[in-house]
């Protein structure tokens, strides 16, 4: 959690624009995320929230504007390079490796941390064995943390949706990210699952100090867990501030209640 003193932002999105054909998905959107913050990005359907996340994680590239992470420009990196910088993400429609067990899914999150010889890995001896066991131990900690011990051997595709979302979070956490991007982590969940997920997100933020940017529709959830809220509407950022301020912002109320745009 931040105490209001602005340090150097971890992530700076400066005036980026993305166009799909004639549609401006994002126009000159800026966003700063301070280290340790939980920032929510909200807005009606089609406002450009996922596009913004996709730009930050390298899946899309803006045709103008810059994105800086930890002080370095990284507007045009590819998704794997972004992952290497320490940005992990989840997807709106869960993207798990459905044929693999939950444990294997989470282990893939450690791929970038693994080093050393393939020959040793194949033979499973020496440093390779030790490395595998260390990563395994770390993954087990995450499994405990997210309370998914019971399903670790289940193949991910068989799990109910709520648990799949949780496994996806676990995989992202396994990479020990500096910045965690969550695209609608609570979509399609029941109240109980939402409460669990809220708790996990706050715990991740507090215990690991992970900075989090998330997209969410449930306003109650957003107000509860975020330090700051940015509101997008038709690809334009219309508000950015503390949850209470944003809630009272007339432009935000218009966007949500569907007042005609002039």
């Amino acid at each position: 959690m931040t105490d209001g003193t602005p340090a150097a932002p971890l992530l700076e999105v400066c005036e980026i624009s993305v166009r799909f054909g004639a549609l401006m998905a994002l126009s000159r959107v800026s966003l700063e995320v301070q280290p340790g913050e939980v920032v929510a990005i909200i807005g009606p359907n089609g406002a450009g929230k996922t596009t913004l996340i996709n730009c930050i994680s390298g899946f899309y590239h803006p045709f103008e504007g810059r994105i800086r992470f930890a002080g370095r420009d990284r507007t045009h990196l590819s998704p794997p390079d972004v992952a290497e910088l320490g940005i992990a993400r989840t997807f709106q429609n869960v993207a798990l490796f459905k044929g693999m067990s939950v444990l294997d899914n989470i282990m893939t999150g450690r791929l970038l941390k693994m080093r050393g010889s393939f020959v040793l890995e194949a033979l499973y001896v020496g440093p390779a064995k030790r490395q595998e066991m260390e990563h395994r131990a770390f993954v087990e900690r995450i499994i405990d943390f997210l309370e998914i011990q019971a399903i670790r051997k289940t193949s991910a595709g068989r799990l109910p949706y709520g648990l799949q979302k949780r496994v996806e979070l676990a995989r992202a956490l396994a990479a020990e990210p500096k910045l965690l991007l969550l695209d609608e982590p609570m979509a399609g969940m029941n109240v109980e699952e939402k409460e669990d997920m809220c708790r996990f997100i706050l715990d991740v933020n507090q215990e690991f100090g992970t900075t989090i940017a998330l997209i969410e529709h449930d306003m109650g959830v957003v107000m509860d867990i975020s330090d700051r809220v940015a509101v997008l509407d038709y690809g334009i950022k219309i508000a950015d501030g503390k949850p209470d301020e944003v809630r009272q912002n007339p432009a935000v109320i218009d966007a949500y209640l569907g007042v005609t745009h002039s």
């Binding site: 992990a88 993207a95 490796f97 693999m100 282990m107 893939t108 999150g109 970038l112 393939f118 194949a122």
Partner: protein, 311 residues
């Protein structure tokens, strides 16, 4: 009655009365089956990792064999020629990723499939341009002779080919099960976006699978070429790999191996014991009929993932 007897009893009586001959036929089937498996394995690797149905796999076998023979004709000793051929196939994988796959990324599967048909014709012509179109003898130093074990004739060439194929498959299995590349490959096979988001570079994975498929093609090309000469018909092996894939499932490595063996053994036994009933030539169509039966009753293959969509 006599027909029923000829179909259901006589062949088994023949098998039992001449067991040594039966084992020889069986071994011949296993050898042919392993060849099919190797080609099918190349298909499966590429299909799993990139969703591309690589029509050019058969021609890659031909190209690899042509390169090897070409190098040997120019005086390179077998080991040197093999290493150079591996290098050529790896270079080919890089070129394919850069020139074919990368520009077509995110296109429909059918478009990538068409691209591999193009690749098929290109490699065929390119190989013949480089090394000539005549039938070549490939001599890898193992004589095409037989020796007897307990009354069974075993061909030295076939035996060493079978052992090599088994070793190759074992090494690949360990590589893909144990190493992080293997884990990354399985991840890519499952979900491209998710794989990218956890830092797996798709391009590298593609180069790796195409290179491995190229190396598998060398193995298949060398074995088949040593047996029956290096010639254009090698690329037709790919056609036999199709029923193997239908049997084994397009995404299953064990399926490709077992499917190949079933078809190899099945067609040889069919040819020898049931062939005379229909005037022979069962070998040519057996695989396809079996594949048709599978499509009717088990379309996902022996090991393929059952096709169930959650709606």
């Amino acid at each position: 009655m006599s027909l029923l007897y000829a179909v259901f009893v006589a062949p088994f009586v023949d098998m039992a009365t001449a067991p040594a001959f039966f084992v020889e036929v069986l071994l011949g089937g296993v050898f042919a089956g392993l060849m099919y498996s190797l080609v099918a394995l190349g298909f499966v690797l590429i299909f799993k990792a990139s969703g591309v149905f690589n029509f050019a796999q058969g021609v890659m076998v031909l190209f690899a064999a042509l390169t090897l023979v070409g190098l040997m004709e120019r005086g390179a000793p077998v080991p040197v020629a093999l290493v150079l051929t591996v290098a050529v196939m790896v270079a080919l994988a890089f070129a394919i990723e850069r020139l074919v796959l990368r520009p077509l990324v995110n296109q429909e599967h059918i478009i990538l499939f068409m691209a591999t048909i193009g690749l098929n014709f290109f490699l065929e012509g390119f190989g013949e341009m480089l090394w000539g179109a005549n039938v070549k003898r490939l001599d890898i130093g193992v004589p095409d002779e037989s020796f007897q074990v307990a009354g069974v004739l075993v061909n030295k060439l076939e035996l060493s080919a079978a052992i090599t194929a088994a070793l190759l498959v074992a090494v690949l299995a360990v590589f893909f099960q144990r190493t992080r590349i293997g884990r990354a490959l399985r991840a890519v096979a499952d979900d491209h976006e998710a794989a990218l988001s956890i830092g797996i570079p798709l391009k590298t994975i593609w180069v790796i699978v195409w290179a491995v498929a190229g190396i598998v093609a060398i193995a298949a090309g060398v074995m088949w070429g040593a047996k029956s000469g290096v010639q254009f018909s090698l690329s037709l092996l790919a056609l036999k790999a199709l029923p193997v894939l239908i049997l084994g499932g397009f995404e299953s490595v064990p399926g490709a191996i077992l499917g190949g063996l079933i078809i190899g053994v099945g067609e040889k036994l069919g040819e020898v014991y049931w062939g005379p009933l229909v005037g022979g030539a069962i070998e040519n169509w057996f695989a396809y009929v079996l594949a048709l039966a599978f499509l009717l009753f088990r379309p996902q293959g022996l090991f393929g993932e059952k096709i169930i969509e959650r709606v």
